[in-house]
Symmetry: C2
Subunit: 350 residues, 2 copies
């Protein structure tokens, strides 16, 4: 029997620290307007990438590791590429989409919880006052919101809840489905790598079960290639049916130094290519770069406040500070979204 | 920062309970002599399986889930098969091989630990007195042995240590390499399933990093398809090199109810076929069986005390009691090793 009460508190501060910063940022942050670029399809596998140094570095790397007889050749089984999700594969502004899910979920669940009308942080949230909800309780309030919305049901039920939400919810600024707030150049890159016998993984600070609910459909990444943060689960019988129940206790935080740990636990091989956008991805890139043979590390730098958002060293969400310095020192590729990407978002689906 | 001291004690008793039983069994248990059967190769993908009901149930299952248009058809991506390791893919007598590794490792490390000559449980172990080593300290002593031999080095170093050991160590009874103490019928089954576009996973109570050191070479199962118990790791820089250091603290016990939890965490899909040999696999089989559509559950029943060992309901190692009852009730396949397997071990390698 797993003791949730003893293990949860020691990991709370990192998770809720990050989430809390996100919520504060949500209140303070005004993103630039986002517009949808056009997608040009051609024989070029990366048509949404301008012909700049970033694209060339990608194509050169793939060419050398896939060329038989090349000193840099890597066997297909070892062609592991890892991608952060928030800010790398899809947008993370005005806040992590999973937090928007949690806030929506509080509203949906409210009728089953009449006590929330008089209990903080839920009472303020239900009045639309996010700032007020968090003013009193801070990190503790945020953890209550996350656990009230992510635990207390089976893994199967949670998957359905996320699927339902993501099928209908809309981004607060662009009013597009979240699954269209993904980066077209990164979709092309995923497909390009897979066409070259890479195995593409998501390695996210977000919830593993949250992302799995849409990763295959949206990114072509199957559930077994998603690594993320998780809460504890418990095996139990409901009548004659076994189920895994999601418990209100953190199991693993797949962020920062947690990313190499999660990669090692799930994959057991060192990636040869890693893609991120924040300092929370730095250890994943360092871990990838430290292997022998050809390696590729890339940071997506959010520089386009017209088509998406511009933020880096001072941002509460997706802070990219140390990562920029280390990229410069080590010659890692830094994508300047404004200049390197011809298109940012895919065209709207009918 | 992960606190190892707070998390370790709460999970100790289950792990060390199982290990302790193993060691007690080692002292009491006298396995039957093991002989090497001949392997007949033919067009039959399962030549080491006699033509009995067990083999037929396997072949029928594979036929129906792979036949397009069949109501039982399963898309290749969903063809997940999970295998226990100890007692299912390789032998587990006279004790779990990983424990034999730990005992060997104490001897190897002794010169670097002069204090062990006067400290229990190591002093007794080094004199060859396993019983004495454990008589005083019990589970605590066993945990000390495991942590002294499995922690305190990088994941990379540990992998090398296991690879070196498994390349040279010999089984105490048969004097064969451990990698030849595997079941030839199960090797054929793994290959047969993969030829039918199944993805084969190991889901073991044994250590994930221990098994990964040989799973690809021995079973054709790559590291990302191995799920097992783990200790905590910590990301740190050694000079400019990042490394993952193995800490003396349990992270996850992939046994009993832990198996469905590990499967869900790593794969995120429910298997359609599960193979085990003990009550520690029961929840994995129940979890597999509870999915919709065609399912296959199989227990390997150790019934051959001439060619291997015979044990079930009363055994300290690989106890199979509830699993036998549930198999009978639910019509799961139970392999009678004596009658269903023409060959048990592969021929010795030159």
């Amino acid at each position: 029997m797993i003791s949730k009460h003893r293990s949860a508190p020691r990991k709370r501060s990192r998770l809720t620290g990050a989430l809390f910063a996100t919520v504060l940022a949500m209140i303070a942050f005004t993103p630039g307007p986002m517009t949808i670029g056009a997608t040009a399809r051609s024989a070029d596998p990366l048509p949404s990438w301008n012909n700049t140094a970033a694209k060339k570095s990608l194509v050169d790397f793939v060419a050398k590791v896939t060329k038989k007889g090349s000193p840099d050749f890597v066997a297909p089984a070892e062609r592991i590429a890892v991608f952060d999700n928030d800010g790398t594969l899809w947008s993370e502004q005005p806040m992590y989409f999973q937090l928007l899910f949690a806030l929506d979920r509080v509203k949906t669940l409210a009728p089953q919880h009449p006590e929330w009308n008089t209990t903080e942080p839920f009472a303020s949230l239900l009045k639309g006052d996010v700032k007020g909800a968090l003013a009193g309780g801070g990190e503790k309030a945020l953890m209550e919101i996350m656990m009230a919305t992510h635990a207390g049901m089976s893994t199967q039920e949670f998957g359905m809840v996320v699927k339902d939400w993501i099928a209908t919810a809309r981004h607060p600024v662009t009013k597009r489905p979240y699954t269209e707030m993904i980066y077209q150049p990164m979709l092309e890159l995923l497909a390009y790598l897979r066409a070259n016998e890479f195995k593409t993984y998501i390695v996210s600070g977000g919830g593993i079960e949250f992302i799995r609910a849409f990763s295959e459909r949206v990114y072509g990444i199957p559930p077994e290639q998603v690594i993320g943060s998780s809460i504890k689960t418990k095996f139990q019988m409901r009548g004659s049916q076994p189920e895994l129940v999601r418990l209100p206790a953190i199991n693993f935080i797949d962020d920062g130094p947690g990313k190499p740990i999660g990669i090692n636990e799930h994959i057991g091989r060192r990636p040869i290519a890693a893609f991120g956008n924040s300092d929370g991805d730095l250890q994943m890139l360092q871990w990838t770069a430290a292997g022998s043979g050809a390696r590729f590390c890339l940071y997506v730098h959010h520089t386009d406040d017209v088509r998406e958002s511009a933020y880096d060293r001072q941002s509460h969400i997706g802070k990219l500070d140390k990562g920029l310095d280390e990229s410069a020192q080590r010659g890692w590729t830094v994508v300047d979204m404004k200049n390197d990407w011809a298109t940012i978002f895919p065209p709207a689906k009918k």
